[in-house]
Symmetry: none
Subunit: 367 residues, 2 copies
Amino acid sequence: MMTTTKSASALPLNTILDGDCVAEMAKLPDGSVDLIFADPPYNLQLKGELHRPDNSRVDAVDDAWDQFSSFEAYDRFTSAWLAEAKRILKPDGAIWVIGSYHNVFRLGAELQNQGFWILNDVVWRKSNPMPNFRGKRLTNAHETLIWASRSEGAKYTFNYEALKALNEGVQMRSDWVLPICTGHERIKGADGAKAHPTQKPEALLHRVILATTQVGDVVLDPFFGTGTTGAVAKMLGRDFIGIEREATYREVAKTRIAKIRKFDRQALEVTASKRAEPRVPFGQLIERGMLRPGEELWSLNGRHKAKVRADGTLIGDDIKGSIHQVGAALEGAPSCNGWTYWAFKRDGKMVPIDLLRQQIRAEMHAH
Amino acid sequence: MMTTTKSASALPLNTILDGDCVAEMAKLPDGSVDLIFADPPYNLQLKGELHRPDNSRVDAVDDAWDQFSSFEAYDRFTSAWLAEAKRILKPDGAIWVIGSYHNVFRLGAELQNQGFWILNDVVWRKSNPMPNFRGKRLTNAHETLIWASRSEGAKYTFNYEALKALNEGVQMRSDWVLPICTGHERIKGADGAKAHPTQKPEALLHRVILATTQVGDVVLDPFFGTGTTGAVAKMLGRDFIGIEREATYREVAKTRIAKIRKFDRQALEVTASKRAEPRVPFGQLIERGMLRPGEELWSLNGRHKAKVRADGTLIGDDIKGSIHQVGAALEGAPSCNGWTYWAFKRDGKMVPIDLLRQQIRAEMHAH
DNA sequence: AACGACCTTGAATCATACA
DNA sequence: GTGTATGATTCAAGGTCGT
């Protein structure tokens, strides 16, 4: 059986594939990429090229039937590339799509129809949008991104602490204020005209990739354009796969990405979640003699106490169990993190037991 | 031919109709209302309970009216009420719908399918949203409104100058920062519980109605709830028609609206006070490429240096954290303003990082 | 009266490793 | 696959109460 071209090791990493995105994705193996970032065309310029089922040509889009049929064509296109996208995503992978009100509702609905599970919609609030010159509508000052996991209940990567750090210590919100792509970042041709009409700012991709991938992950962009996704992926130590059918865009992207340098290892380390720390059983504090059986623990709020037993359980008034179970029971709470709830006394001072766990973890890191 | 009950003069102005929105709209004549504002059920699909980190329980939207068996069922519902909405709208009328990522993509797609013409999508950026307690996603800090005319090319009302005035003389953008409905405005029952789980702020309706209707216009709200649309319409001298099938909500709305005075200049609108300087997270300098991950920063006193990481934290000798935290630690000080402490090198010169922040703020002010 | 400490709350698709 | 035990996790407003 011939599967070489579909083995994960054969992924065309850090290259730009030449062709239609559906056809090129079809060549990639199932479950092989970690993240997809897609900035699909907002309208397919179907006007004049659209045909009814009976092959008659639709030459105007000015009545209800034609409007509907053009949306139908857009939906078919969306459905086709999203189906391939879903197939090549790893089970715990995720997808980002970006659009404006012209197409984003169709994108979002089709994502849901195909069983993707929306995690957030994110508003890119442009700090320098184009004004509405005619004064007939509101300044169209934002675009919408949708972040979705491959299916309901699937795991996904989210570097919560890194994004919180990026936002000065407060949780990152679903509205991101970023400037549009201008100045020296905006790629221009020899004639001074912009190389691509909808080049996305690197800052946007920086946030997307930092938030939802790990170093070494594979990021695929089926509408690669001038390669912003690839450029930022490379900087951030991720691998990319681009798909682009316009030769001029591919050329611009290739030159652009070749100039990019990956950030050094230390710069790429980001603040990690506590969840990633190794688990330390409470019993180990007793085994190591950091706490003695029979010693009393106090709740940090001072309202409760319990006694340590040799097996690492606690015993309070009429209640026995783990540090978590006893804490929860005493507080009448559905759950309780015993590590941050209990303290012991040393030299007259209350010391949180979590300090002992940190000691053990520090030792583990040293080895 | 008997058309009396469907003549415009027979419109049930400034009343709340008791019943299902499709059935009640069906009784209204073609082309009879100027504006529809619709806040349909969001189909949240919540699974379990959610607790805050302090173990308190979040009071979720678990009402029967928000439950749908599938996307197909939700789409059928949406299609049915939008078809009636379109029929009763005047040819030059318009519609607003509001939703979150759970339902808004389906709403927007169905609007387009039925031939409505989207004029803007508008983001309501909540100044005080509920955080994401488990740190698993971004704070869901916005909802989306869609503003559409009845069909492509149709005329519509847009009070451009009024909105510009409301926005301190600059063109109103498609992102609106408004607080959620709390405090005295939030209607509560005798037991102190909220009368309706999803009451919208009057400021939001104020802006919608002011922007897209004239005095004397008829505004219909098919999901009237506790009557925010009616209350604001009355204040602003517009007529309203509400439809609501829950008797308790109708009762609350009736009492509420009876107390409203037309043209009462209450403090509805968010105070247009001059805001403090916008907070700029340090991470934005990295995202925007003003500083590179791996780049070194020097303290202005020349005694210390540290390296920038991709998430906007610094790493020095044995110390990681924000620009403020690392500065404080290196100086042995309780606190430190990192913005005025750190500098980077460009062309052999030391440049304070605060200069970059000032650049960003200047951009923000310019728009 | 003014201020500060403390408490409550909001349209939420909110966990995961291990046995 | 399922069940159980561990244990990680919040921001801005507004209201209440005590000094």
